[in-house]
Symmetry: C2
Subunit: 417 residues, 2 copies
Amino acid sequence: MPLPSPPPQVSGIKQDELRRHNLSLLLRYVHLEGPTQRATLTAQIGLNRSTIGALAADLAAAGLIREETPGVRSGAGRPSLVVVPEIERYQALAFDLRVDRIDAARVGLGGILLARETVPLPDGHRGFDEVIGLLRGTARLLTESLPEDTRLVGVGVAIPAVVRDADGFVRFAPNLGWEERPFGDTLALELERALPRRPFERESVLVANDADLGALAEHTRGVARGHEDVVYLSGNVGLGAGVICGGRPLRGHGGYAGEVGHMIVNPTGQRCRCGARGCWETEVGIDAIVRAAGRTPGDGTTVRSLVSDALAGDELARSALYEVSRWLAVGVGNLVNIFNPELVIFGGDLRELLPMVHRDVVSRMGAGGLTVSREHVELVPSALGVDSPLFGAAELAFARLLDDPLGVAMSLPSAAD
Amino acid sequence: MPLPSPPPQVSGIKQDELRRHNLSLLLRYVHLEGPTQRATLTAQIGLNRSTIGALAADLAAAGLIREETPGVRSGAGRPSLVVVPEIERYQALAFDLRVDRIDAARVGLGGILLARETVPLPDGHRGFDEVIGLLRGTARLLTESLPEDTRLVGVGVAIPAVVRDADGFVRFAPNLGWEERPFGDTLALELERALPRRPFERESVLVANDADLGALAEHTRGVARGHEDVVYLSGNVGLGAGVICGGRPLRGHGGYAGEVGHMIVNPTGQRCRCGARGCWETEVGIDAIVRAAGRTPGDGTTVRSLVSDALAGDELARSALYEVSRWLAVGVGNLVNIFNPELVIFGGDLRELLPMVHRDVVSRMGAGGLTVSREHVELVPSALGVDSPLFGAAELAFARLLDDPLGVAMSLPSAAD
């Protein structure tokens, strides 16, 4: 039996909360699984037929779903209606603010990608105001041709930063050169001005760390679906982790958990940008790999090019990857002992690295340490490729609607209002 | 806004589950807070007066609580009845299996200590069968004078081991010299034979790692009450952690999470019993401290004696503690970056160490690394002293009853049956 866990909030459940909870379950189900027969919903959600029918009717009245008669009858009896999410009617904007570019998307309910844009961020153009301006322009571009009755449920932003989750305030984003910037508030204000016909509520503009959103996306729509204990590693210039524990994202007190890049693994190692010595990210970050291969960070060397050089016989590239696999094994081994995950997902550039170092990392992890936590763990590449944080940002934007479908749908102003 | 978290199980809430949930909240409240006026329960639990009354009546009918008229009227109007947990009627047994002794207790509903026993475990007497025999004898001793109508709700055991939480199977307990032993099953069988007048269900005998139970006890009844993100460190011969994330215990896939003692912090350090080099426990475990002070592990040196020697001017003891504080800072800093906790609790022998090393650990953690996660973290000693795992074991034993008060109360055989 698992350890007992008292409910985080001592609060009794009332009738109206029960209804909201069940509406949320139903909408979330079709958001994640797509069009689903009522009969399947009855079986999967564990409520009876008439309750499911009543919930579906409520969601349909709010325009969140519609019910269709299936083209093909399955089995005997009356055909079960299919509950279909209203993809066009409820949409979200998602941004993945990366070091070298902004990836942006418009996503419909159900997680369907409807439009996307990429904006390059060349050196010298990562200033706070400039980035805010680019986000504003991209938001306008993505929304200009939307029909009148489409409602924008929210805006989600993934950012390579330590972010305060309450308000999207950026504490520290070394790779953007930002520190202590009111990113969430500023962006919300600018979007409000930029999209006058799509009025926003402040709380619908949500910002989170890119690795945390990568983990969320892989957990909801990627390789970690159905897994409860997952570590997602995001390696680009920095190294971060998003962790799912017992099916829920690890947040920490201020939302800053998962800063695994600054786990000290080599106290006699190199000085990190954070000031400490031997942080994991100084040993396995992209810059470290590039340097170990005798190149210069910023010379255009990528993980992909190094891997292909190594495969082509470049000894320096090969030994750099070998060295990196050693430090990857130390850090991944630590995280496996700490979290006992089923999956360690290699996201971002680490994805390119995995096929090359997989065997080495696993065998080094096995050389010592506890065996029990390693028994069931698998090292896998992210299923959504480099888009995990982008799709995670979309999930973040949809979260409020999914938690309280009718409450939020009623409160959303439409352009036609 | 926190990251969205889909419910771990997709399952609609039905009326009977709602009632069970609310019964559970009410019983848990008085279990943790003690006798409470109905008016307070109404305000705290957020259900209306009549619902609270009905729930209390159900619990009273099962003998789990009783309602009393308060001696002193508070404020105007009718005095609000006081809901009192039935301490004597529902009891649990708790064991903390330590390296040198077994601590045992009989605990009443409400977490009230009713009896305790200590059984020494001298060298050479930690064999599996011998320990099972001692647990059986102690259980008999603790229960022999119980009244007929007392019901034993469960048995909880804290153990310095990597334990499979599903069935209490011990995977690895280096400090007891056990590996792959069916501890939970064997103990349940033996207790069934030893206590024929107190029939047991297998699932009421629960085993968990001692640090996990220390964390649970500090979270429910100790220094971490009301905190959602907590790391509890248990340092005795080994070094383990119990972690509370977002108000819930960190378990991991098989229940093996929190093996922080085998986090590698010094890859050029000493060989650990686990086979790896430079595990945190080889740098800050009691044996490491004793050796650093020029003593021999097993010579009777304790953390307490070292601290008092250092305070008395023993230079070797002082430099040993200084060295230990350095490695404590590395490991605690890593955990703070990973978990962003509000509290790091020093339990077990580490409790003795904390006053001496506190300043040093904090200043070293501040020398580099991310500042954000350190802003709000406090390093504190365990409030329950060395008894945290013992009280955690009692909570573990009560968990089933608290989750489903009527269901479990009805199923419990009483001696009189």
